[in-house]
Amino acid sequence: MSQEHFEPRLIGFLCNWCSYTGADLAGTARMIYAPNIRIIRVMCTGRVDPQFVLKAFHEGADGVLISGCHPGDCHYQEGNYKAMRRHKLLSKVLGQFGIEKERFRLEWVSASEGTKFQQVCNEFTEQIRRLGPLNLNGNRGEHHE
């Protein structure tokens, strides 16, 4: 697959209260953003187990986004802080696997920031497009069982 026609496959773990609502707002407001991101809703970014991220990369994701409430705004008080710590640690581990840390992104998007969600998706997609496919298990482009 040539670089120009490469469409990154991104997975986003979005918290139910802020980012998922923000993404919903972007949708209801008919904002156009890169369709590359697939969203998985979790109640809180604190629920995002490092396994999920590894699994996503393993399944063929070119990038993983974790998006939650702004610091101090967490619906569960401090789940986003837990996510922030895990993101930092996991980024180091990913490097050891040969996965660039740019492929794993943490963003704060509040429920009212539909435009920010649009912007994050577009930016992230472009960033990954420049990085190229991850092709972790060498079967990129083929149907995965």
Binding site: R38, I40, V42, M43, R47, D49, H75, Y76, Q77, G79
Partner: protein, 585 residues
């Protein structure tokens, strides 16, 4: 108790009462000038003189400061008392012929003109010293006193200069029986628009006529007692001893099942737009100030007046001040168009002024609103479509001299216009209330982009917040008018009642569970839970989750090293399946 006779009528009064009080009880009218119930009587004016027969003597006594005694025979209108009173009044009248209450008493006593020479026909001061005593006894400031002697005696501050002791309470003017003391603005303004929201009022007052509860409060900033430690007049006149100056603010803890937040709005501060000149030029007022100005119970009694006390000949109403402006607030404040139209109507009703209404779009969205706009069109309000760029006092022609010049692009004419007016009213927009951000933090409420509180869903849950049991009503959620606020508040109350009526709370079925067969009792999850829903059971060596406390964030699930903790509907297997499923497409 003391028994005495007043004009042949037997009365019984408390010991220590004055003859004046006894006369009042007996229904006899004794005129007074320098007497005030909250100030110690001094008997300066001697208008209240009565004839008292007591212990075989006939005396002329001032009734305001003479205490009653058993067996007194008081005659308030005997020939001798009246003669004395007439003489006293005549002498006072020669000194202060312009004092209105004194002239009334003189008229009652049949005095046309004093026999004595009049020095100053405009004089009002009768030198009773009530003001001096008020300043000393009530205010505790002692800022004024009598100065000079003989015919030059008068009330003044030391050396007739501005006194540092004066706290500007105007109690002297309030107590003056003849209106000899008047209060004037330092800058000669007749109407002080920017202090409109403060007055006229008293330090102890009911906040508004419709206040609930309808009880007065003391404004510590304005109360004389909190400045000088004296006064307490309100406590003196309160029959029920309800006034308590020692009361402190208290924090009350109230247990509630649900909370409705209706913290309201504040208006946009037009000082933020320097080009509109608010606070720099006179006669530029905000909508709130105009509301006070035009209010029948306001400082001018409902008259629309300029700072110099005259009626304006032309008024400009400027819409969208702080609203629909990328530099300030992008949103429309919803209420300004309609209140501006109301202002235009009231101005037409109360003045003969030419009314200009500068609008961007006329947003008359409600029931009967468009009809009202059409009525205003017929009433002759001059509507100019365009945003005002500047209000200044820079006159180019003689006609513009002393006026406010409004520069505006008339988008219907396609030309820039200069319109000079006497008064400009800024239709300021709505902003979230003062404690908005603190409330958002306290209740963990999200805010939308316009900084108002965000409802859970614009259509399906318009009064709920993201936190269960916390509801929103009114302008804290977004700009809205009174009908909309009432409707939303009703809905919020119904939601809260529905919760109370149910008697139990339904929880989301997404709580976390610990599998006791897998749990190793490491307690990592215990420290992570923000709701302290997880407890460690020592005897069993495992941790357990309290379903009622768990809010289902799943933080513990993600952290559990042995996979013993799982979140219902968000199990690891389920999310793995989701991830796999995504890549099937």
């Amino acid at each position: 108790m003391v028994n005495l006779t007043i004009d042949g009528k037997k009365v019984e009064v408390d010991e220590g009462s004055t003859i004046l009080q006894a006369a009042k009880k007996a229904g006899a009218r004794v005129p007074t000038l320098c007497f005030h119930p909250v100030i110690e009587p001094y008997a300066a004016c001697r208008v209240c003189v009565v004839e008292v027969a007591f212990r075989g003597k006939n005396d002329l006594l001032t009734s305001c400061n003479t205490k009653v005694e058993d067996g007194m025979d008081v005659r308030t209108a005997s020939e001798r008392a009246l003669r004395a009173r007439r003489l006293n009044v005549e002498m006072l009248l020669a000194r202060a012929p312009a004092a209105e209450p004194l002239r009334e008493i003189a008229k009652e006593l049949g005095i046309e003109k004093p026999r004595f020479p009049v020095k100053d026909p405009d004089e009002k001061c009768i030198l009773c010293g009530l003001c001096v005593r008020a300043c000393e006894q009530i205010v505790g400031a002692c800022a004024i006193s009598f100065i000079e002697r003989g015919t030059d005696r008068h009330v003044s501050t030391p050396f007739g200069e501005e006194s540092e002791a004066c706290i500007g309470c105007t109690a002297c003017a309030h107590f003056c029986p003849t209106g000899a003391i008047t209060v004037e603005d330092k800058y000669g303004r007749k109407v002080i628009h920017d202090e409109m929201l403060l007055g006229p009022t008293t330090a102890i007052r009911v906040p508004i006529r419709q206040a609930v509860p309808m009880v007065p409060f003391i404004d510590k900033e304005a109360c004389i007692h909190f400045k000088t430690g004296e006064c307490k007049v309100c406590a003196k006149v309160c029959d029920r001893d309800a006034v308590n100056h020692k009361m402190e603010d208290t924090i009350q803890e109230i247990e509630a099942g649900s909370i409705i937040i209706a913290s309201g709005f504040k208006t946009f501060d037009p000082r933020r737009i320097p080009a509109y000149g608010y606070g720099r030029f006179p006669n530029i007022i905000t909508a709130m100030e105009f509301e006070r100005l035009v209010n029948a119970s306001g400082p001018t009694g409902g008259k629309v007046l300029l700072a110099n006390g005259e009626e304006p000949k032309s008024v400009g109403i400027i819409h969208c001040v702080g609203s629909r402006d990328e530099n300030y607030h992008a949103y429309c404040s919803r209420v300004c168009c309609m209140y501006s139209l109301k202002f235009a109507h009231l101005l037409g009703e109360k003045t003969k002024a030419t009314i200009y209404d500068f609008y961007i779009d006329m947003r008359c969205f409600g029931k009967g609103y468009e009809e009202f706009y059409h009525r205003l069109l017929k009433e002759g309000t001059k509507f100019v479509r365009g945003r005002v760029s500047e209000i200044s006092t820079l006159a180019l022609t003689e006609k513009e001299e002393g006026k406010l010049i409004i520069r505006v692009e008339d988008t219907l004419l396609g030309a820039v216009r200069r319109i000079s007016v006497d008064m400009a009213i800024l239709a300021v927009g709505l902003e979230p209330g003062i404690d908005h951000n603190r409330l958002a933090k306290t209740f963990n409420i999200s805010c939308s982009q316009d900084t108002f509180f965000l409802e859970r869903h614009p259509k399906l849950a318009p009064v709920s917040s993201f936190s269960d049991g916390i509801f929103l009503a009114g302008t804290c959620q977004g700009p809205k008018d009174i009908p909309d606020t009432v409707a939303q508040a009703g809905a919020a109350a119904a939601e809260a009642l529905a919760l109370a009526d149910l008697g139990k709370v339904e929880l989301e079925p997404i709580t976390a569970v610990i599998d006791d067969k897998l749990c190793s009792g490491c307690q990592i999850c215990v420290g992570l839970c923000p709701f302290t829903a997880i407890t460690h059971e020592k005897d069993k060596g495992i941790s357990v989750i309290n379903d009622a406390l768990c809010k289902g964030c799943g933080t513990c699930v993600a952290a559990c090293p042995s996979g013993a903790s799982y979140q219902k509907h968000f199990r690891d297997e389920q999310i793995f399946a989701e991830i796999e499923g995504i890549f099937l497409i």
